[in-house]
């Protein structure tokens, strides 16, 4: 084999721009851009992310505006604060479990965990229990802040707060299992799903406005989301109504279905990852 490249200093200079020149700087910056563009081209999930957030923001705050036009301000304020706090329960439940899993990937520790005798169910249970701690800490802090700043007490919702939060947490965990399944199936590039999946449900579940403002098609979808019953119930309670136990029971049943489906999906993707050798690639 002949090495034809001129390895002298002059030769090196002719091969590349002088390292401190503007041309070299432009080339290096261009290299980063080209690399990211290539990554974008290769990842439909990243392309999806570009449109995801603007659409969500537009839908949520647009419908909220429609709702606010017909409401009295004091009720709206407590409703908004209650919605924000309960939304955090769902959001944290989904994210904390997913982050627990993603941290294994970020630290290249996933294979170490998967060669232990820990079963998938044990692993998921551990993630869920750990998330409970973080959810409790986060919600406590936010509730104190809401009381200090706006005089809004989360316990205004009454005893219904317990089942409300339980329904949201279970739904959040099931979304996390789905996100983890997506990462197992599609690789690290899919971790954006872990951050964003829960937001798919924000405009549909009537977090900040009643589902009655949604078109009928979206109302039908909202009816099969457990969180919908929580946020509708919260508004009922804050408006002086009784806790809708019947709706909460329906939400609980939907939660059971969500968890069952999410765990089934996780089992399926884990088997697929083992079959296709994708699990091993998380160690590379």
């Amino acid at each position: 084999m002949t090495i034809s490249r001129d390895m002298s200093v002059d030769g090196a200079a002719s091969l590349a721009y002088p390292p401190l020149s503007m041309a070299a700087r432009r080339r290096r910056v261009g290299g980063v851009v080209v690399r990211d563009l290539a990554a974008l081209r290769r990842s439909p999930i990243r392309v999806f992310e570009i449109v995801f957030w603007p659409v969500i923001e537009l839908v949520v705050w647009g419908y909220l505006t429609l709702f606010l036009q017909a409401q009295k301000v004091p009720f709206v304020v407590s409703m908004l604060l209650g919605a924000i706090l309960l939304w955090q329960v769902l959001h944290r439940a989904a994210n904390e479990v997913a982050i627990g899993f993603l941290e294994e990937i970020w630290s290249r520790n996933l294979l170490n965990v998967h060669v232990t005798p820990v079963t998938p169910a044990e692993y998921m249970t551990g993630l869920v229990l750990f998330s409970l701690t973080k959810i409790a800490a986060g919600i406590t802090f936010m509730a104190l802040l809401a009381y200090a700043l706006y005089g809004f007490g989360l316990f205004t919702i009454g005893i219904g707060l317990v089942p409300f939060m339980a329904v949201l947490m279970v739904m959040g965990w099931s979304l996390a299992f789905v996100a983890i399944s997506c990462v197992l199936r599609f690789g690290e590039g899919a971790q954006v799903i872990a951050w964003s999946l829960v937001f798919v449900f924000q405009p549909l579940a009537g977090v900040f406005y009643p589902v009655s403002v949604l078109p009928e098609v979206l109302q039908a979808i909202a009816a099969v989301i457990p969180a919908t019953y929580v946020f509708e119930g919260m508004r009922t309670v804050l408006d002086g109504g009784a806790i809708p136990w019947g709706s909460l029971a329906a939400a609980g049943l939907l939660d059971v279905a969500y968890v069952a489906l999410a765990l089934w999906l996780y089992g399926l993707t884990l088997r697929h990852a083992r079959t296709k050798g994708r699990l091993s690639r998380f160690g590379e």
């Binding site: 941290e103 294994e104 630290s107 290249r108 520790n109 294979l111 170490n112 965990v113 998967h114 060669v115 232990t116 005798p117 820990v118 079963t119 088997r271 083992r274 079959t275 296709k276 050798g277 699990l279 091993s280 160690g283 590379e284």
Partner: protein
């Protein structure tokens, strides 16, 4: 006593036959080596033995138990270390070992962590974050993790790849001692021929997903008509040679 018995393992990824009918047996206290060029199928084989990859065909039995049916029981007596794996960077070494001691269901995790820290002589690292460790220190902590459950079978994928000669020599000595004194079976891959010659009782030479030769280092050199294992490796990697 037979610790590991893998029969006719095969694995295909798309058009690539990564492993093509590999069979292995490793006995108690034995140190077996899996040797071969990059892409020969060594890591895929190890990952099948660990249940990370499901074989297309073939069976894996450890301690008389079928891995596919008794995953939890089998894996509680096995451990693994690889140069390409990481550990949670923000945790202290002691915390990492404590976590793994618990993942392996040990009764007295703290006591065992103390023992393993003494065995690996990593006391000065115990309160340091993993992310702050040098690659050599990281390897030692990985090995501490790999020994935390007193495994009956220890699978090591290039265990000393990141170590300097002194540290590598100490780790090799320790591993041989573990195998001889505790009866732990070792299955290792390595690109360090001297390491393999020094440590392994039996070497399985892998090429293109198949075991093309096996025996001691001397037997393999004789089979290929060369002086040592390194020459065997070069003949296989460059010429695709098979034993005479």
């Amino acid at each position: 006593m037979l610790i590991l018995e893998a029969e006719d393992l095969a694995k295909r990824f798309g058009n690539v036959q990564a492993v093509d009918g590999i069979s292995l047996r490793v006995g108690q206290g034995e140190i077996a080596g899996l040797l071969g060029p990059n892409g020969a199928g060594k890591s895929t084989t190890l990952h099948m033995l660990l249940g990370l990859i499901t074989p297309d065909s073939g069976t894996v039995r450890m301690f008389g138990l079928d891995l596919a049916r008794h995953r939890t029981e089998v894996l509680s007596q096995v451990n693994f270390s690889a140069s390409y794996l990481g550990l949670p960077g923000v945790l202290h070494v002691r915390e990492v070992l404590d976590a793994f001691a618990r993942l392996y269901g040990l009764r007295r995790p703290r006591e065992r962590v103390g023992e393993i820290i003494d065995l690996l002589e990593i006391g000065p690292l115990a309160r340091r974050k993993v992310i702050e460790l040098s690659s050599g220190q990281h390897t030692r902590v990985q090995l501490a993790k790999a020994l935390i459950n007193e495994p009956r079978l220890l699978i090591l994928d290039e265990p000393t790849a990141a170590l300097d000669p002194d540290a590598g020599d100490r780790i090799r000595g320790l591993l041989v001692r573990v195998a001889r004194e505790t009866g732990t079976a070792l299955l290792i891959t390595s690109h360090n021929m001297r390491e393999v010659e020094r440590m392994c009782d039996r070497i399985h030479f892998v090429s293109a997903g198949r075991i093309i030769a096996q025996g001691t280092a001397t037997e393999l050199a004789d089979d290929f008509g060369v002086d040592d294992l390194e020459e065997v490796f070069l003949k296989v990697a460059r010429e695709g040679a098979v034993p005479a």
